[in-house]
């Protein structure tokens, strides 16, 4: 019980810091710590899959992407499109997919199956055979996110092309 309270308080404090911190890097790191607390809470509440995803994706991938982006900005300056971004982002993304795939594979083999219930089954079965539509919708959300980045980070001077 005490551990649970400590975890919850930690989650709220770091989530608050993520919003309040003026330094973007500190805010991103606070968000990562908050995600870590949340991931641990998920593990303790017998939701290992949610825990794995929370820690690997939110505390891992997103934080590194934030940190990478923030490191490219300068004080009182607009973000300059550097050549580094074009190389670093795809490289990092592929690297992350490989490492994350390996880590997740070993982790998911070790975590126990979900408790019995109407949505029971192995992780793959639940996701693929029972919540298939959710997968399609998630592809839709990711596609929307990627297209949004392409649209909003386009070079404005190219707008009147052709």
């Amino acid at each position: 019980m005490i551990i649970q309270i400590i975890l919850l308080v930690g989650l709220v404090i770091f989530a608050g810091l993520a919003i309040l911190a003026k330094d973007l890097l500190k805010a991103a790191l606070s968000l990562a710590v908050a995600s870590l607390f949340l991931g641990i809470i998920f593990f303790r509440l017998s939701a290992p899959y949610a825990g794995v995803f929370e820690i690997s994706v939110v505390a891992g991938l997103i934080t590194v992407l934030f940190a990478l982006t923030i490191s490219l900005t300068r004080k009182n300056d607009q973000v300059q499109e550097a050549r580094l971004v074009k190389i670093a982002f795809p490289l990092f993304f592929i690297l992350f997919l490989i490492i994350d795939g390996l880590v997740m594979k070993s982790l998911l083999l070790k975590v126990p199956a979900l408790p019995a219930g109407p949505e029971a089954g192995t992780f793959g079965q639940v996701l693929w055979k029972q919540r298939t539509f959710d997968l399609i919708a998630q592809i839709g959300v990711i596609l929307a996110g990627v297209l949004a980045v392409l649209a909003l980070f386009r070079k404005k001077e190219e707008d009147k092309d052709e």
Binding site: F133, I136, Q138, G140, V141, L147, A148, L152, R154, K156
Partner: protein, 492 residues
Amino acid sequence: MVFSFIVIPLLVAAIMPLLGKISKKLIPDVLTNAALAFLLLNSILLIKPIFNQGSIIQNISWMGEKVNLQIALDSFNLFMLFTISLVSLAISLFSIDYLEHYGHKANFYALLLVMIAGMNGLVLVPDLFSIYLFLEVAAVASYALVAFGLGYDELEASFKYLMLSAVASAFALLSITIIFGMTSSLNFQDVARGLQDLSARYVIGVCLAFFIMGFGLKAALVPFHAWLPDAHPSAPAPISAMLSGLLIKVSGVYALFRIIYSVIGMTPVMSQVLMALGTISMVVAAFLALGQKDIKRMLAYSSISQVGYIVLGLAIGTPLGIAGGLFHLFNHAVAKGLLFLNSGSIQHITGTRNLEELGGLGKRVPLTAGTNLVGSLSIAGVPPLAGFWSKLVIIMALIQAKQMGYALIAILASILTLWYYLLIQRRAFFGQMNEKWSHIKEAPFWMSAANVILALICILVGIFFTPVFKTWISPAAEALARGVQQVMMWGI
């Protein structure tokens, strides 16, 4: 095939950025319009099977393997699919010429198609969590589309919209979580059955309150409307038309009433709460619209007011009231789509949306003035246009349900609506022409064509009101009025 409503727009959107590298204009224009025309045709072809069978349940397998891709189609969601396809196609046609000055058509169309896929998915899935996910698909695309111009106002409006939309989604998700906790299911049919067996009146009441806050925010009902007058005018005109014409109705009104009628079951208390919210929206937003100088801002307030009418009609709970609400939903989608596209034409022609700078445009651009007049009079409820009939049906349903006070307010709000629409018409198109507009020309072909198509629909639906209402609106209303029994009939 029903599944194509989700898959085709998603697939076309996924390849659009690549195709945009090959051809920056022609292929994106043709492919997007062809995909949307196919969806419209598909929705028309489905009308007969739905009339014969009542509902269609489709299970899709993946390479012979059974997966849970289940779609439920009845006359209510077919009605929504047809409305989405029709208005989207007109908007897409308008975009061919309108987007010339924005550029990056491939990106724009890709986001538009994802938004349409999200709305279609939301309408088709018989599962609470999937509804939430498709809501997010449409929402994420719409945030980017609002900010597409990349100006300060666009980015600010998009951020405000994102924040309030996230709050709305959180409320809806919270309610879905509680329902899942109580019934151990997310499927409409199992949840409906589970809730009937439970005696948890107060918990269900809390869930309903969260749904109203969440979907009420998405539908921009007063007092959850603060984001809409900023977000809708800031977006490019075709997106304003999508947001006001379709998105607030699909992600707000459809989701709310599908869940209330078909999953939880409408109660007299709920009916009264929703009728009150609808009426407040109708009146407050009509007064707020009166003081606006920016055409799009006035139209945005008008959307809030007209959504009030739709909610009022649907909340009555009688088949006639629901039919009136649905009919007004369609008429408003068409007419408001038309008016936002018209505002885009005006801005394209003159470079401004400020009513005080405009005047006498009708002499130089009679087509834009004419289509604007048709859309305005239809929304204001002037006979014989489509909007007149839907408002009349709502008022008749209110009288039939002995809700005389609401009926009187609906009539008075309609007069207010006519007032502010005539203000737009008078200030922009009639009166003394400002000298600087003496050399303006009519909007380009595709922009005018889209406006004319939507204006013709307003006129034709009004003239052929009886067959349209009997063969198309009434079956959709009956599907919703059957309440929880409707999803039980699906046999999932």
